[in-house]
């Protein structure tokens, strides 16, 4: 007991695990993926050239490629991956459903819908404009889902995992149907929608997309505040209330965080499948169910996944590119199946 009493106040380290080590490894993996993402591309650069490009001492073209294309794209990929990984872990935690992903809140369908509306009816084509419509659509859809789920939820505590899932599916299907009807009328919005819905990072538009960074940061702060409460919510709503936790408040906080994170990611990169689903599972495998460790590792893992998939996409069909969403689906699906087969996924 004395040995225990010597430990300084702070975050309790879960038993039998070394989460700090896991976080360290996840950080290193992300750094490696970021370096690869800057080095590998249509024009293969040597590390020396990249360094020269970064410091601005290389050839003009190299400097342009590295500073204007590769670095923003890498930062964007990392940002999108972190957002989707953390949002997925939050979503699975709040719904206690291992198959939940951020798309369940209707963010993807909502972003796609307003994106098409912006292109078709308002004639907005530049990414500086469409990003905001995608983001607003994601936000509106998740607010709608949350409101509908609250109507059907328990009297005291707002939406339940089941009503959230049902409302999410209903709203998504409705928005996707309307979006499909709209894009069939108009070729230019169909093209834009098709490209967006494949899920992609893009060289030339990365800088515009980085506008979403403040929203991702805000979402991460909310997620951090939500983490201890999510641990208590994992014991069921009754136990959580018995422990003095405001279930409705925690749900609202979590859904605000998911909306900010997934909404930002989906607005700029399209509905990148699998990251929000798989990253939390991989993270949980190493950290266990404590969200204070699970959330950061899911974010770091999500970023690594997106960047690696993006690099692979640049290599497989050179000199062309395969979009990151497609790579993730093609590589991610078998990987996920293998994961499920090797060890049954944790119940939540």
């Amino acid at each position: 007991m004395t040995a225990l009493a010597d430990r300084p106040a702070g975050t309790r380290v879960p038993r039998g695990r070394r989460p700090a080590l896991v976080v360290g490894i996840a950080v290193v993996a992300l750094l490696v993926a970021m370096v690869l993402s800057v080095v590998v591309g249509a024009a293969l650069l040597s590390p020396v050239q990249v360094w020269a490009g970064l410091t601005g001492t290389g050839a003009d073209q190299t400097v342009a490629i590295v500073q204007d294309l590769r670095v923003p794209r890498t930062l964007l990929g990392a940002l999108v991956g972190i957002a989707l990984g953390v949002a997925g872990a939050l979503m699975q935690g709040h719904t206690r459903n291992p198959l939940a992903d951020p798309g369940l809140l209707g963010v993807s369908a909502g972003a796609g819908f307003l994106l098409v509306v912006a292109i078709q009816f308002l004639g907005i084509t530049s990414l500086y404009g469409t990003v905001w419509f995608g983001f607003a659509g994601a936000g509106l859809a998740s607010v709608l889902v949350f409101a509908l789920a609250s109507l059907g939820g328990s009297r005291a505590g707002g939406p339940t995992p089941v009503t959230l899932a049902l409302a999410g599916v209903a709203v998504s299907e409705l928005l996707i149907a309307i979006t499909s009807a709209l894009v069939l009328r108009d070729t230019s919005s169909l093209d834009a929608y098709r490209f967006w819905s494949a899920g992609a990072l893009d060289d030339k538009d990365s800088l515009a997309s980085l506008q979403i960074a403040p929203f991702v940061l805000a979402g991460l702060v909310l997620a951090a505040i939500n983490a201890p409460g999510l641990n208590v919510l994992a014991l069921g709503e009754d136990t959580a209330r018995g422990l003095g936790h405001h279930v409705g408040r925690a749900r609202a906080l979590g859904i605000a965080a998911i909306t900010l994170l997934a909404g930002s990611a989906v607005a700029v990169a399209g509905p990148i499948s699998f990251v929000g689903l798989v990253a939390p599972h991989i993270a949980r495998f190493f950290t266990g169910p404590d969200h204070r460790w699970l959330l950061p590792v899911a974010g770091l893992g999500g970023a690594t996944l997106v960047l690696v998939a993006d690099v692979v996409g640049r290599l497989v069909v050179r000199p062309g590119e395969l979009q990151v969403g497609i790579v993730l689906a093609v590589v991610g699906a078998p990987f996920f199946i293998a994961l499920v087969r090797r060890r049954k996924l944790a119940r939540l």
């Binding site: 009493a5 702070g10 975050t11 009297r155 005291a156 208590v232 014991l235 003095g244």
Partner: protein
């Protein structure tokens, strides 16, 4: 900050810790508890109260309302004289603990981490874990005999062991008043006795005030100071086990013909149901 496992001062008073006044609780349009003008119940400090009654009589609903898991339609629940719905939830959680009927835990959660979550009401976001918390958790595990499972995931334990772990969590929460919703469901007889022994020790050694919903009348009579028999959402009768468990009550509340004898082990009433088969046999004999 004091350690929460020390025995609270149990005066020989009859101070009411938890009280319901004109309580009416229900789901949707139907009142389950207190339909005939509201339910009044006093829970006195340092007692063990068992709520009994047939299925659907509203005993779990009453317990959930007392634990502020359900909002009453009318009336109030008072904790130490204060309206529970007007107190900050975290403050309530340092005085009143509740163990729901079928608690859930995520897979992979180890026992010590689960018990540690009982410290939630004592924590703030910026001060998550203190040596004090660690000491309380260690002692709660030792006290319920679950220290040896500390590093094992909950799902690898048996039902009886798991229930002891949940009680450890409630103990780590350090509340004077503890509400238990059918703590012995799904357990075999040996483990039922095991869990109730633990509750009895909580009461005797820790001075906890306990209210629990129980199905087994004979165990309720043994372990409770006071029985509250419910029928159709109201209290049919309450008092010492010997006063409540009568042949008349069995007939009125449970619709069951029964003989009451003295429990040779504990001296409390023992209910012996007279089934239809037995009754028919008696009739043909006479």
């Amino acid at each position: 900050m004091t350690t929460d496992l020390t025995r609270p001062d149990v005066g020989k008073t009859t101070r009411t810790r938890l009280r319901t006044e004109g309580l009416q609780v229900g789901y949707d349009d139907e009142l389950v508890v207190g339909a005939d003008g509201g339910l009044d119940l006093d829970v006195v400090e340092g007692t063990v109260t068992a709520v009994i009654g047939p299925n659907g009589c509203g005993k779990s609903t009453l317990l959930r309302a007392m634990a502020r898991l359900l909002a009453p339609r009318h009336g109030h629940v008072l904790l130490d004289g204060q309206r529970i719905d007007r107190m900050p939830s975290k403050q309530v959680a340092t005085v009143l603990g509740v163990l729901p009927q079928d608690p859930v835990a995520p897979e992979g959660l180890v026992v010590a981490d689960l018990v540690a979550r009982g410290r939630h009401p004592h924590q703030r976001w910026f001060r998550q874990w203190s040596p004090d918390d660690e000491a309380v958790v260690t002692e709660a595990l030792a006290w319920t005999g679950t220290s040896e499972f500390a590093d094992r995931p909950l799902e690898t334990l048996s039902g009886g062991q798991r229930q002891r772990v949940w009680i450890s969590m409630a103990l780590a929460q350090g509340t004077d008043v503890l509400l238990l919703d059918e703590p012995t469901t799904f357990l075999d007889l040996a483990h039922q006795v095991d869990v109730l022994d633990l509750v009895e020790r909580l009461h005797r050694e820790r001075g906890r005030t306990v209210v629990m919903v129980l199905h087994d009348l004979n165990l309720a009579a043994r372990y409770a100071d006071r029985l509250v028999a419910m029928h159709d959402g109201r209290i049919a009768c309450s008092g010492a086990p010997a006063d409540v468990l009568t042949e008349q009550t069995m007939r009125d509340v449970f619709g069951l013909e029964a003989k009451i004898v003295e429990d040779p082990v504990s001296g409390t009433p023992l209910v012996l149901p007279v089934g239809r088969r037995q009754r028919e046999r008696d009739d043909s004999d006479s």
